[in-house]
């Protein structure tokens, strides 16, 4: 394969060229209530070519590998048509690597019957949890992907990538009131992970039933304490996306907002993105441009210290490459993305965060989050009212919002209980969703957060 791809690249007239060929096999099983809802088994093959000519990018995607030579020509033609400046890419060392993960209990060796039985069992656990559980959805999916990446600078990387996820949704009902709660895991390891999730299925059921008793949160401004899950979502949504350099690198006003060295939070605040951590969903030895991943401090001691780059954004901003160019699959080009993003642990036990809160909200778990850089919003899966340092009643429909820079300054407590979350969801950007990432944090406390409510 390596030779074939290199042959295809030789003698072409572009400043830079890369090819990505990809194939995968995938299975998915969904139970709704106690019944099989759907089961499918798929295979897919495709590829893309990206060409850079005088600063213009031509990008071509296709399914038929046999048409590769024509596709290379087409990508160069398009790039030539629009390129009118100088091509710039941060220099990197070419690499040759085959990345084949080692793990036990390969899900490709497990029969569909066994997978179906596992899903059915989880579905029964949720359905039998309480008479108030009206329905459930349990989604299992696995996918084994093989990609070949080659570029005109001599890099060749073959990656094999297993991915497995399980989602549990429990739906509880009382009259017209319908409440739902979800739990999920994602994993880049073997099937063993999928067999040990009864507690997670029960947790989803318990949370859905509890939500029936919860009151809608009254809107207003609160001190909030976020659990590691929601604090992880917060740092991912509110700050992480703003660190992705592709939205900054040609925009001087945005760069001013994100000048390195700017004080953005308290001395205790440290935020890291690290694609080189072993075995996490956002991890890989090389990113999708063949750049080695590494630990990047985005905020250190409260000061803005780094951001997430592709080769193009790095060179244009005069900074080092970080290994953050990622593509969801062959339909997309690599763009600056997060990998494993977290707030480093602080010093105090999380219980102490509650001590001097007169009136606040303890927000846990998540439905989702969203950002337009300055403004962000994210929704808690469950929450509680805090009065005089104690949890009093359960609340629901909690969505928090704020301005990023104000909010970072308002973090006034970081606990010591760091947890990294491997959820079965993923991150979305520019239509590329769901990209496997992890996020994490200790419990944190934030002042003056606006919460929507009735």
């Amino acid at each position: 394969m390596q030779n074939r791809l290199n042959d295809a690249l030789s003698g072409q007239s572009a400043d830079y060229l890369e090819i990505r060929l990809e194939e995968f096999e995938a299975n998915s099983i969904r139970f709704q209530g106690k019944d099989m809802e759907r089961i499918s088994s798929s295979q897919e093959r495709g590829g893309n070519v990206r060409a850079l000519v005088r600063g213009g990018w031509g990008f071509v995607t296709f399914n038929r590998w046999e048409e590769l030579d024509e596709k290379i020509k087409e990508a160069i033609e398009i790039a030539t048509l629009i390129g009118e400046k100088k091509s710039e890419l941060a220099p990197i060392e070419p690499v040759e690597a085959e990345l084949i993960p080692q793990y036990e209990n390969d899900f490709r060796q497990i029969s569909l019957k066994e997978k179906t039985d596992t899903v059915k069992n989880y579905s029964n656990i949720i359905m039998n949890f309480s008479p108030r559980i009206q329905s459930s959805i349990v989604d299992y999916s696995d996918r084994y992907t093989i990609t070949h990446f080659v570029n005109s600078e001599g890099t060749y990387i073959k990656k094999e990538h297993p991915y497995l996820s399980l989602h549990f949704t429990a739906i509880a009902r009382e009259g017209d009131d319908v409440q739902m709660a979800s739990e999920s895991i994602g994993s880049s390891k073997g099937y063993t992970q999928a067999e040990r999730l009864s507690p997670l299925a029960q947790k989803a059921a318990q949370r859905a039933v509890n939500l029936l008793q919860a009151k809608p949160v009254p809107g207003g401004q609160y001190t909030v304490i976020l659990d590691p899950v929601l604090a992880g979502v917060f740092i991912h949504e509110a700050f992480g996306h703003l660190s992705e350099a592709d939205f900054l690198y040609e925009d001087p006003r945005m760069q001013q907002l994100m000048t390195l060295g700017k004080k953005v939070g308290s001395q205790e605040l440290n935020v890291v993105d690290d694609g080189s951590l072993s075995g996490l969903l956002g991890s890989s030895q090389y990113d999708d441009e063949g750049v080695p991943t590494r630990k990047n401090y985005l905020i250190r001691d409260g000061v803005l210290t780094g951001r997430l780059h592709s080769r193009e954004t790095a060179v244009k901003m005069g900074e080092e490459v970080t290994g953050n160019a990622r593509a969801l699959n062959y339909h997309f080009k690599p763009i600056a993305r997060m990998t494993n993003t977290y707030i480093e642990r602080g010093k105090i036990p999380y219980e102490e965060l509650f001590n001097d809160v007169k009136k606040g909200i303890y927000a846990r778990q998540f439905y989702g989050g969203n950002t337009t850089f300055e403004q962000f919003t994210f929704s808690a899966g469950e929450g509680y009212l805090i009065e005089k340092g104690r949890i009093t009643e359960q609340l629901r429909d909690i969505t928090l919002t704020g301005n990023l820079f104000e909010t970072l300054h308002h973090i006034d407590g970081i606990a010591s209980d760091l947890d990294i979350i491997q959820s079965g969801g993923g991150c979305g950007k520019g239509g590329q969703h769901p990209l496997p990432v992890t996020f994490g944090s200790p419990h944190i406390r934030i002042k003056n957060v606006v919460v929507g409510g009735r």
């Binding site: 759907r38 088994s41 038929r64 398009i78």
Partner: protein, 437 residues
């Protein structure tokens, strides 16, 4: 396709083969500069079989993988969902109705012409205010769908789409105004004038940032923002949710649930709309299905399997999210007939309230319950019948199924959103608004 299906003979009770291929060419501008042009080609095959009363499904990207797909589909059918339907023996075409889906002018658009459109967009934004950031996308799309089942029933159609999207951003110290407008349609030509006059108006309204009060107040949702209130209805009227008894709208057929000014249709028969087609993805003719008429719930929407489960006729709403997934109930185009009040009259009617134009966190939260809670990413304050400025750090929240009972007026200027939602502005009596103390 017939030959491929013939290979299933004797191995399954019945089968259905679906093929989609498309070419799409997006031209992208960042910061006012032409950044990239893509040429994207995609081919997908999906095989659904019914074997011993159960459904099996498999997909791939090439007909050469048909045999592997057949084996997988038959294998998974052992564990599959019980089939309550069979594939249609005949594709029935409603008489006298031809739906236009394909415009050869879109297919013929050259990259150079698309670049010219992009340059014009950038120049126009620049002429409004040279300090504004402008990102833009111009994209053409040409696709073909083919269907055949083992009873010989077959259909195919071609479809085009042309999309222009504009993102305008004004960045100041700790303030970012972001306005997004787009047009998507099956034909190549559409009115730029109305789009620009809308953009100019919104930029003008947004120049000044103003404060608002906490509490319940009148709210106008622009067509672009109305999906906030429609998503819970789309979920609740889904025949699957109703069959599973998790819809708050179940067993409410014939009941007056919303203000009588509100009617909602799923309509797949509109020329050149994004969600239109002759047939749904299972070969059932698309139609204009009344969901809500004068506030009364008329119908839920179904695919074949769920219609059979409910004991009703399929409604032509069996849609595939992509070729990877089997059909499930979906909305073609969602239509809310316009009302009588103009946007200006609505504004004039409000002493103190807000306009919501863009939200953050659409669909995030417990949609099924009707609950919504969103940051107003772009919105304006109305004071004594006039728009006085842009609002920030504001959340709106409520339950869509409740607030739609209290509609003051439906606007007369309906617009297409994403090429598949035809919505007028909707003026609601009181929504909870939260902001900083």
């Amino acid at each position: 396709m017939q030959e491929l299906l013939a290979k299933l003979k004797g191995r399954v009770n019945s089968g259905e083969l679906y093929r989609v291929n498309y070419k799409s060419t997006p031209v992208d501008y960042e910061m006012g500069q032409l950044k990239s042009v893509n040429a994207e080609e995609m081919e997908g095959w999906a095989l659904r079989v019914i074997h011993e009363g159960k459904i099996g499904f498999s997909s791939s990207t090439s007909e050469s993988q048909f045999e592997a797909m057949a084996e997988k589909a038959i294998e998974v059918a052992q564990f599959g969902q019980t089939a309550l339907f069979d594939f249609p023996a005949k594709i029935k075409t409603p008489r006298g109705k031809k739906i236009k889906l394909y415009d050869s002018a879109v297919a013929k658009k050259s990259i150079a012409e698309m670049v010219e459109i992009g340059n014009n967009i950038v120049a126009k934004v620049n002429s409004l205010d040279s300090g504004l950031r402008c990102d833009a996308g111009i994209a053409k799309f040409e696709g073909k769908v083919q269907y055949e089942n083992s009873y010989g029933a077959t259909f195919s159609y071609q479809k085009t789409s042309f999309a222009n999207s504009i993102m305008i951003q004004d960045t100041q110290e700790n303030d970012m105004m972001m306005l997004m407008e787009s047009q998507e349609w099956g034909e190549a030509d559409f009115s730029w004038e109305s789009l620009w006059s809308k953009i100019e108006k919104k930029l003008e309204w947004g120049k000044k940032i103003v404060e608002i009060e906490n509490g319940y107040q009148p709210v106008i949702f622009t067509p672009k923002a109305l999906l906030v209130l429609m998503l819970p209805l789309i979920a609740g009227l889904n025949g699957r949710m109703v069959n599973k008894k998790i819809s708050p709208l179940q067993e409410k057929k014939g009941e007056l649930l919303f203000n009588p000014m509100l009617s909602i249709y799923s309509d797949g028969t509109i020329d050149y709309a994004e969600g239109s087609a002759l047939y749904d993805d299972e070969g059932i003719a698309m139609g204009r299905l009344p969901l809500i008429v004068d506030g009364v719930l008329q119908n839920y929407y179904y695919d074949l399997q769920n219609a059979a489960e409910a004991g009703v006729k399929p409604t032509g709403n069996g849609l595939r999210n992509s070729f990877h997934t089997s059909p499930s109930p979906g909305i073609s185009n969602l239509i809310i007939p316009a009302g009588t009040l103009s946007f200006e009259e609505m504004v004039k009617d409000i002493k103190s309230g807000i306009i919501v134009d863009q939200v953050l966190g659409l669909g995030q939260g417990n949609i099924l319950s009707g609950a919504f809670s969103n940051n107003v990413q772009l919105g304006y304050r109305i004071d004594k019948g006039k728009i006085v400025g842009r609002i920030k750090n504001v959340m709106i929240a409520g339950n869509a199924l409740e607030v739609l009972k209290d509609i003051v007026a439906i606007g007369k200027e309906a617009e297409w959103v994403s090429g598949r939602y035809h919505f007028p502005p909707v003026y609601l009596k009181a929504i909870s608004v939260s902001t900083k103390d």
